[in-house]
């Protein structure tokens, strides 16, 4: 394994971990809202969160590229006011990953909230606790197992995500070339031994990280069920 691939792995880890953390932070309130809000049109919103999945990733990536382009509203705003460009940058692939991973985090979390007995929330309210205290002291700790599912799915998906990232990030070594793209590259080049080796490394690292994530879950269950 050469140092290039090592850099690539570091970048992949950075992307996957950032994506997972950011998604966790935004999906908890989204899942909470989707579960408890009395808003009538929740099914369409739930469906909408899944929509980035139904387009082929490269096509999704293409649309993002178009959105990020300085010729269009978002891109020109970023360019002029924030003096930044998202296409072919780490921010860009981070945003793409977040979008692509959203359903994998929101869905299990929402499912977790909605399978909690409503008496937990009621009991906390009648003890005079605010929605916020109820949320983070009662509700979230009781859906740990759903959160683990969301984290594992998001993390694994982000490691393997590749179409969107390739399109938005453009395979630039050290900046946007993540491990999956590097492996893809080697396969395309018919360099199978290198591809196998890289795949194996990625596989083993991901495997142990996932085992770790799932073990946390197991320990949690032993404590409560």
């Amino acid at each position: 394994m050469n140092s290039d691939f090592l850099n690539t792995l570091v970048l992949t880890g950075k992307l996957a971990i950032s994506t997972t953390i950011i998604l966790l932070v935004i999906s908890l309130p989204i899942g909470y809202w989707l579960t408890y809000s009395k808003f009538k049109f929740k099914a369409p919103i739930e469906a909408f969160i899944c929509m980035p999945m139904v387009l082929p990733p490269t096509v999704m990536g293409y649309y993002l590229l178009v959105a990020f382009s300085p010729e269009n509203i978002l891109g020109s705003f970023l360019d002029q006011y924030l003096n930044t460009r998202w296409a072919f940058s780490f921010q860009g692939i981070l945003i793409a990953s977040i979008l692509a991973g959203l359903p994998f985090m929101v869905q299990p979390i929402q499912n977790g909230f909605s399978s909690l007995p409503k008496s937990y929330k009621e009991a906390s309210y009648t003890l005079g606790k605010s929605s916020w205290v109820t949320f983070y002291k009662v509700l979230v700790p009781n859906i740990k197992s759903s959160i683990i599912t969301g984290v594992a799915l998001t993390f694994a998906h982000c490691i393997g995500e590749f179409g969107i990232v390739l399109m938005v990030g453009g395979n630039i070594p050290g900046q946007t070339r993540i491990a999956s793209i590097a492996i893809y590259d080697e396969v395309q080049a018919l360099n199978y031994p290198a591809a196998h080796q890289y795949s194996l490394v990625l596989f083993i690292i991901s495997f142990f990280l996932l085992v770790l994530i799932y073990s946390i879950n197991k320990n949690f269950k032993i404590n409560t069920l």
Binding site: E122, A123, S124, Y125, T126, K129, V138, K144, T224, L225
Partner: protein, 217 residues
Amino acid sequence: MIQINLEYSFLTPNGKKNLSINTEIPEKEIIGLSGPSGAGKTTFLRILAGLETPERGKIKVGKQVFFDSEKKMNVPPQKRKLGFMFQDYALFPNMNVEQNIDFGRSHKHNPELTHRLLKIMDLQNLRKQRIHQLSGGQKQRVALARALATESSLFLLDEPLSALDLPMRTKLQEEILKIYESLQPTIFFVSHDKDEIHKLSTYILQFNNDKVELLKK
């Protein structure tokens, strides 16, 4: 004075069922709720707590209006400042016994209270135990302690002692009376035990399937 005028109805598979309560009850009393299964005792407590919304009516506790359908007022449960003990306990599985009781405490500066309640309930040895590791009666005592820990001026206790053996039950009746004497709260409690109602309450709210009556003891 606690002023209660309310109309509430639940949809059941055999059509609507109505609960209509109109009464005035002095504050700082212990009111025993009694009546057949399904008469609406729990529902009434849930309405007082703000967990169910009546169709019509007005609920006023002292100077505070909890609910007024005409003025479209409905104070949320968090703001009603009460201690509710659920019939099915509703303890938090992510917390142990002590943490559950602590969670009920409204005053940050009073860890003493948790210890006192643990002692009263004879739960000191189970302090660190998880909820799923408790027996039925132990759960009931944790739920009661958690509600009492709020030190509020209004307690709503739904069958607080039903799963306890007689000695424990008698002891906790005494403790409830002690708390009543020291804090002077208003206490609503549901019980199916004639003696218990007789011993604790100063008023009785009798639920029958068609009407609800207040009886002075």
